[in-house]
Amino acid sequence: MAEISSHGAAGLDRTRAHYMALVQQRRLYGGITLAIFILLLVSGFWLADARNAGGFWSGLPQMFDFPADVVADTIPRLNLLPGYLVKYLPALLETVNIAAVSTLLGALAAMIFSLLATRGLARWPRLIPVFRRIMDIMRAVPEIVIALMLIFVLGGGPVPAMIAIAFHTAGALGKLFSEVAENADLKPVEGLASVGSTWSQRMWLGVLPQVAPNWLSYGLLRFEVNIRASAILGFVGAGGIGYELKNAMSWGQGKFDEAAAIFILLFLTIVAVDQLSSYARNKLTGPGAH
C-alpha cells in the first residue's frame, strides 16, 4: 500500500501525535464542560431546595395532594360541570380573542420590523442595528410588566393584555421572521429592483411570497404561545379565563368544581389549537422545510 500511503513513517508519527493531542484536549475540554454543567445543575438544585419552603424529597409524595383535593371536591358535584362549561365559555372566547388579535397585530409589526432589520432587504441599511435592538428590547420585556402598567393607565380588561402580548409578539416574531427573511433568495428582489419598483413593492412581491409559509408557520406557533400568555395575564387582572381560574382555584375547597371546569376548558383549547396548528404548520412547510 506504500504507493497510496502519502507520507512516510515520520509523517505518520506526526499525525498520530497530533491526533492524540487533539483527543486529549477534546477530552479535557469536554470533561471540564461536563463537570461545570453538572456542578451548576447540582449546586443549583441544592440551592433552590434549600431556599424553598418545602424540600424536594419531602414534597414528592405530596405531589398529588392538590389534584386529589380538586377531584374529591368535583366528583360529588359532577352534575354541575356542564353548567360551568357554558358559564365560562365567554371568558374562554375572550382569552382566545386576546391571543388572536395580539398575534395578528404583533405579526404585522414583526413583518415590518424584520424586513427593516434584515441584511440585504433593509430600507435603510444603516438603521439595521437600531431595529434589531428595538426588537431585542420588545422581546425581553415580559408581557406581565406591560400589562400591569397598562392596567394602571387603561384599567382592567382585555385591552392591556392585548397590547402587552402584541408588543412582546412583535419582538419575538420579528427575530424569527428576520431569520427566515435572511435566507430568502435575493434574485427576485433584484429583478424587481431592476424594473424600477419601490421598496414596498419589492418586499411585497419579491420577499413575501418566499417567506410567507414559514412566517405563517411561526405565526401559528406564536398563537399557541399567546393563548397561554393571555390566560396567564388573566391571573393579574387582565380578564378572560385566567382570571376566572385564579379566583376559583384560590378559593379552594368549595369552588374546586368550577376550577376543574375552567381548567378542562382551557386545557382542551390549548391542546386543540396546538394540534391544529402543528397540523397546519406541517402542511405549510412540508418535510425538510425550515
Binding site: G54, A100, I144, G155, D274
Partner: protein
Amino acid sequence: MELAARYAEADRIVGRKKLVAFAVPGLILLYFGYIFFAFDMPGLVERARPENAQILLRDTWSYKTHVTRDNRNGELSYAVEGERKGAYPEGQRPQWVSGEGEVAVIELGQGREVRFLPGNAVQFVIPGERTIEAWLEGRSVVTNLDAPYPDYVSVSGTRLQVTLPGARLTFTRSRSEVFRYFGGWELFFFTLDSPYHGQGLGRILFGAQIDPARGNIAGAWHDFWQNPMWMHAAVAWAMFETVLMAFLGTFGAALIALPVAFMAAKNFAPLRTVRFAFRRVFDFLRGVDGLIWTIVLSRAFGPGPLTGALAILFTDTGSFGKMFSEALENVDGKQIEGVASTGAARTHRYRFGVIPQVAPVLLSQVLYFLESNTRSATIIGAITGGGIGLLLTQAMITQKDWEEVTYYIVLIVLTVMLMDSLSGWLRRRLIKGE
C-alpha cells in the same frame, strides 16, 4: 388555445389574486371591527386615565421628598418618598427648608413657597396667583379661597389639596404635608443615614477614611449593597433566583425529555400505543401551563424557587418531549445503519447514529428555551413567591414605587438580553464550530 381565451384566463388569474388581496385584509379588518366592540374600545377611551400615565412616567425618573408637620404636636419630619428608611436623620433637613420651631418655610422652586405657620395654618405662595391660606377651625379646614376654585386646588371641609407641577400640598386637620419632586433616583447608592451619602466616588476610593469604624471601600460597599431603600442585595438575589429557576427548569426538562422522547418517536418506538401514550403525556404536561403547575406544586413544595423550577420543568418536559421526538423522527437512517452494520449495541447505535445528528437541533431548542424561560420565570416567581417577578408585580400592584419598578424592569430586560446573547453565543460555539 385562442389568444382571446388566454386573455380571459389571465384576467381570471389576476382577478382572483385581486379578490384575495382584498378579501384577506378585509376579513382581518372585519375581525378587528368585532374586537373593537367586543373589547369595548369606545368605553376604554372614556375610562383611560392619561394622568396615571403621567404619574407613571414622572415617577420612573423622579422622586419626591416629603415635609410633614403633625398638626397635633407640631413635629416636623423630612423623608424621601415619605418612607421611614428615607428619613433625614435627627437634626438634619433639606436645604430648601428653613424656619424655626413650628414655622417652616419650604421652597418649591420657580418662586413658589409653602409656609407652615403656628396655630396649624399654612400659606402657599404662587407667583402671579393669589396666595392660598388655610387653617384649622375646630374640626374643619378653612381657606381663603372662594368657589369656583382653580383646577389645581381640591377643597372640602376637612381637606385641602394643591397640586402643581413638581410640588403638592395636602392639609388636613391631622397634618400638613408638602411633596417636592426632583429628578433622578435619590438614595440609589446610599441612604441619608449612611456616612457615605453625598460623597463622590473618588473621595470614597481614595479619600481619607470617612467612617472611623470601617474602611471606606468595605463600608461603602456594605451601605450600598444593604441600602434599605433600594435593597440591592435582595434584588440581586431575586434576579439570581429567577435565572436559577429558568436554568434548573430548562435543563432538568431537557435531561428528562431526551430519553423519553425516544419512546414517542415513530422510528424508535414501534408500539403505536406506547407512542400514543407518551405523546398524550407530553401534551398534558404542556397543556397545563407552567402557572397552573406552580399552583399545583405549591401544595407539595410550598413557596420558593424550587417550586418555580419544577413548574418550568414540567411544562418544558412536555414541550421538549414533543420537539425532541419530532427531531428524532427526522433523523437520517443512513448514519444509524452505518453504525449498526458494525454490530454496535442498541445504546451505541443511538449514541453514535442518532445523538450527533440531533444534538445541534436539540441544543439550539434548549438554549432558545433558556432565554424565554428567564422571562417566564419572572411571571412564575410572581405567583410562587420568589425571584424578581414577585418584587416587580408587588411593586406594581401597590403602585407607589415606580422608580423601583423601573429598576426591576431594566434589570429583567438586561438579564433576558444577556441570556439571549449567551444562548446565541453558546449556539454558535457548540453548533457551528465544535
